[in-house]
Symmetry: C2
Subunit: 239 residues, 2 copies
Amino acid sequence: MIYVIGIGPGHPSHMTYRATEALSESQVIVGYKTYIDLIRHLIDHKEIVENGMKREVERCAKAIEIAKTGKDVAVISSGDAGVYGMAGLILELIGEQDIPVEIVPGVTASSAAASIAGAPLMHDFCHISLSDLMTPLEKIEKRVRAAIQGDFVICFYNPRSKGRPDHLAKAFEWIKEETAVDLQVSVVKDAYREDQAVSYHTLLNMDFDVVDMTSLVIIGNSTTLRLAGRMVTPRGYAL
Amino acid sequence: MIYVIGIGPGHPSHMTYRATEALSESQVIVGYKTYIDLIRHLIDHKEIVENGMKREVERCAKAIEIAKTGKDVAVISSGDAGVYGMAGLILELIGEQDIPVEIVPGVTASSAAASIAGAPLMHDFCHISLSDLMTPLEKIEKRVRAAIQGDFVICFYNPRSKGRPDHLAKAFEWIKEETAVDLQVSVVKDAYREDQAVSYHTLLNMDFDVVDMTSLVIIGNSTTLRLAGRMVTPRGYAL
C-alpha cells in the first residue's frame, strides 16, 4: 500500500486527521528532507527514507520498490500532494502495476497563504508555477497573460529562487502589459511555519526582495481591494 | 472572536486539527444547514445558528452581531472557507470594526475531488464557478476561453443546478471553440461523503446528466491522460 499524503502548510495543527492516521499506518515514510523535518516528531521509530531537492523520481521509485515488498509506505508532500506534489509521479511510475494507492488530500499552499493574507481567493483564481525546470518560460508567459486576460486572481507557486531570481519580475512586466489596473499583491512567506511573514504590495509598488522559494505570491483581480489592512476579493454579494 | 472555518470536503477525517479545535473553542456555530449537518456530531450542546442557501449575508451579519456580545463564534464553510467561502464576506462586513478574526483553512473541493479522480492538478490549473448569481455569464465565458488559451487544467465549481442546467454544456461549447484537443474530463460527486461517485469522460464524449450541484468537474490540459483508469496530468519529469 502507498499513501501519498499532503501534510498541509507545515504546522501539525493544519494537517488532517486522515493524514496523521495514514502516517501512523505506514511502516516507511518517504520524503524530501525539509518536509520530513516538519513531521519528524510524528514518525518516531518509523523507517525514514529522505533525500534532497530535485530527486523526486528516485524518491517515488524507491517508495514503489518498498511497497512491492509488502510494506505500507507513506510518500509525503507539503500542502496538498495532488497540487504540484508527488501524487502524479507515483501514479505515473505505478502505471498499470497492481499496487493500491490512497491519495490523502491536504491544505494546499494557496489556501494557507490566503487565510493569512485575508480573503483574496473568493473569486475565480489560478495557480501558476514560475519554475521553468520542467515548463518552458514561453508557456509560463502565455499562461500569465491568459490569466490576466481572464481577470483571474493568480497564485504564483515557486515564485523566486537563486536559480531563477528574475522570473517574478518578468511576470510582473507581462501583467503590466495586459492590464492598466494597479492590482493588489500579497506575499506570504512560510505560512504556518516558524518564520511566517505577510506583506502587501501592488503591481506598481512591489518589493521583490521579500520573496523567496518558500513564499507564495497572490495577485488580485481587478476588483480586489485592501480592507482594514487585509487583501479581500469581493464575491459580489450586495451588502 | 470569529473563527471562519473550512471544514473540508465532508468526512470528519479530512478536517484539520485546528478546525476541530476552533469549533470546540466556539460557543456559537453559524452555518448553512447542509454543512452544519456534516459536523453536527462535533458540536453537540453548542448554540447553533443555521439557515438556508442564498442567505449568506444574513448569516455572516448574525455571526458578527453575536461576536460583538463577547461570545466566540465559528462560521463554517465546506472545503476551504477562503475559496468561494465565507471568509471574504465576514471581512467585508467587519470592515474597520475591531473584531478579531481567525480564518482556519481547510481542504478545498478541488483537492478533495482530484485525490479521488487521480492526479489531475499536477500542473497549472484554475478554479471557475459556473454560477451566474453574482457574475455575469459573459465574464464567465471570457474566463473559460482564457483558461483554455492558457492551457490550464480547469476545476468547475457549481457546475450545474436546477436553476442553471445548461451552463456546463455551454462551457463545453466555448472550450471546443478554443481547442481541437479532445480533453480528458472527470466528474467527482460528493467527495468523501456518503454518495461519493467518480466518472470519466472527454470533451467530445460527455454525460452532463451525472453532474449536479455537489459535483466538481475537472477538465484536463492538453497533456492530461487516462492512466490505469485514473486521470493524470504529467508534471513533466523525465521517467
